[in-house]
Assembly symmetry: C2
Homo-oligomer: 448 residues x 2
């Protein structure tokens, strides 16, 4: 327990002091001694009765975005960054109301996680990330043995639509041969606005953009005529259409179609400006287009970045203990740019996980333009699972929270009016969804 106690977070600068009772811990777990990789986590015990609650790992996407800076500080963590100041406030809808909550900056190079090996020698990718996260988990459970027998779930959003099924698959396979000591009591996954399938995701983005009145008839016709999204390399005409598309999405927030940009300046820094990252010979491959960093909120990113760059905060969090030469950033674009190992689809893995009997919930904020509900619906169709309970409304008090479909092996839930970062858009609905997922219960089918 000594190592665990060393990670205990004491007084946290700019955080409310007296209004919470849960313990929290943060620090590094060495991931690969040889390559000099260490992964940073921030762990929160459940608000009440942590011993009786499950353990949930939360992962943000990108690739390259920090779960500590997004998930914890801007979405579902107990301490959200305040507006205008690099300080924190308690989140009344924090997910540690329902679970012990573990945020992991993954892979090495993301957020506070670091690698002493350059990306050229050891490029990050899907496979190494899954195995790196698994190695982290095994060691983290050694440090926190009291959580090892708890039910374990993985949740996340966006490019974590890749991370989560891939990590889940590693856990399932390793569990088959693991000693009792290293066995993980793994039960299920929960993924929001998930990037899961290159083909259907991009088709859904384009179709949805027309039906949400964002692109012109002319541009949509160009897409229909020149784009075959099942090809790995797209035609030059399709490239040109996608270029035009990315220009429009520098004007509005692709992650939340109907909300204004934050008034920190115009044009706001928008993740879609990186559409052109990773060009090969002047041509943009479909894969590059899908790697746009996701989960980017221009209204809170400045405060979160400032807060996590405070020296006193890093000291309190046991972060950046090796004194890296660069500042903390929410999304490391250089990781995104060299990310070459990415499954074109995780549909077969998701299907396998469903057959293994894992609990799988997919949710979708329906005002996201990055991975629109339309994309996810196309992807689910590709999965081809039989429907057990067709499309029904679910409720938050007297209002329709969205709609859900229960497939044999997978539950799909939409969240009405939420953007890409569902817990940021509609925190009450997100917590409700999370609790029902953990309880393995359908959401309320009637107003209450």
């Amino acid at each position: 327990m000594a190592a665990q106690e060393l990670d205990r977070v004491g007084s946290l600068p700019g955080a409310p002091i007296h209004s919470y009772a849960f313990k929290h811990y943060s620090g590094y777990v060495t991931n690969d001694e040889h390559l000099g990789k260490a992964l940073f986590y921030w762990f929160f015990e459940a608000m009440e009765k942590p011993d009786e609650k499950p353990l949930v790992l939360w992962l943000n996407g990108g690739p390259g975005c920090s779960s500590v800076g997004f998930g914890q500080a801007q979405e579902l963590g107990p301490f959200l960054v305040k507006k205008d100041v690099p300080e924190l406030e308690l989140n009344p809808y924090a997910w540690n109301h329902a679970a012990n909550l573990l945020f992991l900056d993954s892979p090495a190079g993301v957020g506070f996680s670091y690698t002493n090996t350059s990306f050229e020698i050891d490029p990050p990718g899907d496979n190494s990330t899954a195995h790196g996260s698994y190695a982290f988990l095994v060691r983290w459970f050694q440090r926190f043995p009291q959580h090892k027998m708890k039910e374990f779930y993985i949740a996340g959003e966006s490019y974590a639509g890749h991370y989560i099924p891939q990590l889940a698959n590693v856990i399932v396979e390793e569990n088959k041969k693991a000693s009792k000591e290293n066995y993980i009591n793994f039960k299920g996954i929960l993924i929001g606005n998930a990037y899961m399938d290159g083909d259907t995701d991009l088709q859904g983005i384009v179709d949805s953009a027309w039906h949400h009145a964002i692109i012109s008839d002319t541009l949509y016709s160009a897409f229909l005529k020149s784009c075959d999204f099942s090809m790995e390399i797209l035609s030059p005409e399709c490239d040109a259409a996608l270029d035009e598309f990315s220009v429009l999405y520098k004007l509005i927030d692709i992650y939340s179609l109907y909300t204004p940009y934050c008034d920190l300046g115009y044009p706001a820094l928008n993740a879609s400006s990186s559409l052109k990252i990773g060009q090969t010979n002047g041509r943009v491959s479909k894969f590059d287009l899908l790697k746009i960093p996701m989960g980017f909120d221009p209204c809170t990113q400045t405060y979160a970045t400032e807060y996590l760059n405070r020296e006193d905060v890093q000291r309190a969090l046991h972060a950046n203990t090796t004194g890296v030469s660069y500042p903390y950033v929410l999304c490391r674009n250089s990781i995104n740019a060299v990310w070459k190992d990415s499954d074109m689809t995780v549909v077969p893995i998701v299907k396998k996980l469903a057959e293994e009997g894992l609990r799988i919930w997919i949710f979708s904020g329906d005002t996201d333009g990055r991975i629109p509900t339309t994309s996810t619906r196309y992807t689910l169709k590709k999965l081809g699972l039989p429907i057990k309970e067709d499309w029904s409304p679910w409720f938050t008090h007297k209002q329709v929270g969205g709609w859900s479909v229960v497939y044999d092996g997978l539950t799909f839930v939409t969240v009405r009016g939420a953007g890409h970062m569902v817990p940021t858009s509609l925190p009450e609905q997100a917590l409700q969804l999370f609790k029902h997922f953990l309880a393995n219960q359908n959401l309320p089918s009637k107003p209450f």
Copy 2:
């Protein structure tokens, strides 16, 4: 001027007293002595320099809904109903900032307008409404001769997508043979979320509902398989799909997809519950389906109805002077139910008006499910006008207000994040749009 002065509204109960300087008038204009029809209007002079401002007639749709109760009291009028009490407050974005503003309850039987003839003897319809409104205008100008030489425009929304082109056409034709005295200085029309074409409107409603994650794959497949919306009478299978569709729209507000219902109770009174009005032999014709009363906001309708039923208010407004036996209602469903004369499309009229050189602007709040932007885009495609300036963003300060296309003869503007009642959803953007329409200027193409 005596008749005019008799219509002047003095002290108006429950309205702010000292904070406005414009004059306003209301009362009846006899529309048809023989049939005992009288139309009720409420006219507001422009806030400043009324002599230099144009005159704009505003019409709500339905058929059967009151322009006084919707347009004036809930959308763009100077006096909006307050929350929770039947009183009024000044609207900072009232359209009489830019024009003299005339609200008309049309046809007879709507709002305070009445008829002494039963609907069975004289059923209301498109043609009689257009001619009735024209007759009203001629007589109203006789009562208010000082406004006769002003530029005259007609604006409105929803089923006024029928009323406005039809009335415009009557004015254009009558102007050709009118004496100088009866000539109307008519310049253009402005229509929001306009019901214009039965075929494309219904196809757009269905397609948009799938892409906005409201209907299931199963129901959408049923639509695609069984519905031919170009037919006047739909197949029984298509009827059944539309029945299922209407059930979903009893749960969320079809006029504003992402806003909650007002908490006055659940399920809220929703206009879509009248989907089945006007069945013929157990079959629902396409026309009946399109006649859903539009422009219905459950959050303000109660206050507006209560306010306009106050006896002191009616006295002050010179309304209900004949003491009809029924209360004022926002939408008279019995009118809707007997409405048999409805053009299946007004596309040819709109085309003709464009050729006549009238200014025509169509706008569309893009989160409306009743006449979605998708429907209007399908309809505009049917018009087949050449594009002069393709799809471009327009701005409200630093934010994208929406997108616009300038056709040869018609300008189309979307309003990002607005529902069916655009001035209610986004009042600042709506007033901006109105001012640019009157000035015949493109909306700002850059942030400002």
